[in-house]
Symmetry: C2
Subunit: 464 residues, 2 copies
């Protein structure tokens, strides 16, 4: 292959681009199961070089796996070659520029390889924030956020990533496509929403034009406790339906709350005794954070509910640990713990039924597991549910142990909600996609793929 | 053709389904230019009957034009047969049921043929409103709103129609497709947004699941005046970017304001004198209406701007006439006036340049015309512009007179904004679509069309 940009064949580079960060990915890196490794890592430095790499890969019939931060937890960046004889990881870190800022319109164009922190730094120089803080924030990239329909912890305030996108620049095997022209349009279907969430199937996202906001002045995070899951759901629902959600709105169920309080260390027993004193039988933690929305509007709506305020220390504690999940996983694995997360969303009338169904499915499959759940994103019509599972790792069959639990949980999820609210489909959620979008939906995606990637070099084995 | 449902061959019925309500449509009904008339009007009474009609039309290779309220102003329901030997208008008025209401999730499923007022009546029985009030409200339908990415006068508060849609049920020639599963999802591209705005190309929308809201308690509408267009744009922009827009937010330019004040009759001179007294040199009218959003938030942000309050009478006057535009057009035509509207949207940094460009293009083409403009919908990153044009109708060539003006305006629009913010593409905006979505975008739409409507019976000659 002609070298149109930096190409590495080093084992260390190839291994670093072998899959994402799911529990099964981590196991694979530890020798459990096959670990597909790309034949090379290709690192273009501009949208033009990305286009040139695609041209060369079409010519040589080489599979291409677009690779941003490599934080996929659904097998979205596995180095699968499909029917091709070779596969390269397309590392987009070289696309790292802030292309332009329109301060009046509050629109900024960012290149795809920019990570969360770097985006905040670049925009911060202009007084702006993107406000997109998923748990993968520290490593994930603008292109990855768009390719997977990411949702950040503050999405109740700033919106999901797709809500921020004004336009997308996409390198496809049939040419460059810029999609999205105005803040809103009725010029046919919203093709931007076809590119967002396309998980590298239709092309490589090289630049994204995004709505930005002024950096928050004095953000504030607080902890609250309600008595029982149903009371919490009802509270979050009314905040959402009254239009007074905090930017960050998170409700933990009693199991997650128990763990959170236990982890609070020396303060834990004080808090627990205080809650008992206040007559809270089944504490469920609520974290609210205000960055751009009105705290007083939320607080005035809260007054209609029975809520115990735990104050800003609890909010600060959440803030401090907000990106800890991914960091702690290797240590937990070392300690012999299987740890993974799952997520979904559904309408309010099914939120509790869905939580119970997933919880039961996981417990039935895993036995003595800790299954915790929280609402991470709330909407007027429903909410997301995010599950964290911890269980002693099977020594004989750690891969099978989780694979079976994942199937059980996903079957339960797909009966009552979406198979994924913000983790994307990748390889892991594929078996449930057709149930959600119909065989016609799958055919439509295939038709678009055939149009844009006629030889099928792009990210084989994912999404479709 | 077998009769799977009511079929009418009566001239009166066929004529009633011959095109929409654009100025050129009205001229055609008055004998200027060709008026394509459907060969029959087919009126199914259920989603199943729609599917059956499509099956029969595929079998007999008959073109199908889905027909809701017939209010398209872009040629979206012209009875074109394309390469087919016959064309039927598919009148969806028989799909008139409220299918279900989930009051907890605030989601209602409405059939496609329900008109705006009927939707409000049906939802009102459950205490809800849809909050979708485009100027076509009185006749247009749920299916039409979805098929054209409609935006209502209160879209700053309730959102555009696509923001309200939870899922869509679509009858396609290859089978039924239900798309949309949860309040939000990362399960691949948002295919719902491919169906919304598809203008009958991919299938016939039979049911739409929609987010609803409680009926407003004490809505309030008020008039204000600012001095000059730029001051008004700046005011609306800050309301949008501060997140305190009224549900209805409308800014008229000085030309539209002049006409609005003149039409206010006996009060006009009082208002004009008052504004002169207050030192307003170039009055621009602002109408704000609150239905679900907070008036106090808007008002407190307004206090930072130089604004003259005209009070609730001016708001009531706007409310009274909010659907008058379409009603008055026939009378104006009778009086020898060419009257038509155009609309677009762009980012804030280009709003004024776009207004000037369209205004100049229209005046250059039409000579002594009245060209009025208002911002009808505001977003954080930009706004829509809505133009109303009045000019003495050419006696020799009324069709050519407007056709040339439309081309000039659309050329100007397509350089700086979207070719349509809420009127859709239909037949009239087709020449500018490729400029906006790229040839790749057009190819993608064609690929999806080929997948869902392989024999091309659906709405020939529109969108694509």
């Amino acid at each position: 292959m002609e070298a149109v940009c930096t190409v590495s064949l080093l084992d260390a580079d190839r291994l670093e681009h072998a899959g994402g960060l799911s529990y099964l990915d981590l196991l694979r890196h530890r020798g459990h199961g096959d670990l597909p490794v790309p034949d090379a890592v290709v690192a273009p430095a501009s949208p033009e070089e990305v286009a040139e790499v695609l041209r060369v890969c079409v010519e040589h019939d080489v599979a291409v796996v677009p690779f941003g931060g490599g934080t996929s937890v659904v097998g979205g960046v596995e180095a699968l070659r499909g029917p091709k004889s070779a596969v390269v990881a397309l590392d987009l870190a070289g696309l790292g520029s802030l292309v332009s800022v329109d301060p009046l319109s509050r629109v900024a164009v960012l290149q795809a390889g920019i990570t969360g922190p770097e985006a905040e730094r670049l925009l911060g120089e202009h007084g702006f924030t993107l406000g997109h803080f998923p748990q993968s924030f520290e490593r994930a990239t603008i292109g990855g956020f768009a390719a997977t329909r990411s949702a950040g912890q503050a999405s109740s305030g700033y919106g999901r990533f797709e809500d921020m996108v004004e336009s997308v620049r996409l390198a496809t095997p049939v040419g460059e496509w810029v999609v999205g022209a105005a803040p809103a349009s009725a010029a046919g279907p919203d093709l931007k929403q076809l590119v967002i969430g396309s998980e590298g199937q239709f092309g490589v996202i090289t630049e994204v034009s995004l709505r930005v906001r002024p950096r928050p002045y004095g953000p504030r995070y607080e902890g609250f406790v309600v008595d029982g899951w149903e009371a919490g759901v009802s509270l979050v629902r009314s905040l959402a339906q009254d239009g007074v959600l905090a930017d960050i709105t998170r409700l933990s169920d009693e199991h997650e709350t128990e763990v959170a309080l236990a982890l609070a260390g020396s303060k834990a027993s004080v808090v627990t005794r205080y809650l008992r004193f206040r007559g809270v039988a089944k504490p469920c933690l609520v974290i609210l954070g205000w960055e751009c929305r009105s705290r007083s509007a939320t607080m005035s709506s809260l007054s209609g509910h029975r809520v115990v305020r735990l104050g800003r220390a609890m909010g600060a504690s959440w803030l401090h640990g907000r990106y800890n999940g991914p960091r702690q996983r290797d240590a937990l694995l070392d300690a012999g713990v299987c740890v993974e997360t799952l997520e979904t969303a559904t309408h309010w009338s099914r939120v509790s039924e869905l939580r119970d169904a997933v919880r039961s499915a996981l417990l039935a499959e895993l036995g003595d597991a800790v299954v915790m759940c929280h609402i991470s994103h709330a909407y007027e019509t429903g909410a997301s549910l995010y599950f964290t599972v911890l269980v002693p790792r099977s020594l004989e069959d750690p891969v099978g142990q989780w694979a079976r639990a994942k199937v059980a949980a996903s079957d339960a999820i797909s009966r009552l909600g979406t198979i994924t609210h913000h983790h994307a489909v990748g390889r892991d959620h594929q078996p449930w996609l057709e149930n959600e979008i119909g065989s016609i939906g799958v055919d439509v995606l295939r038709a678009v793929k055939a149009q844009l990637d006629p030889t099928g070099i792009l990210n084989p084995g994912k999404l479709l």
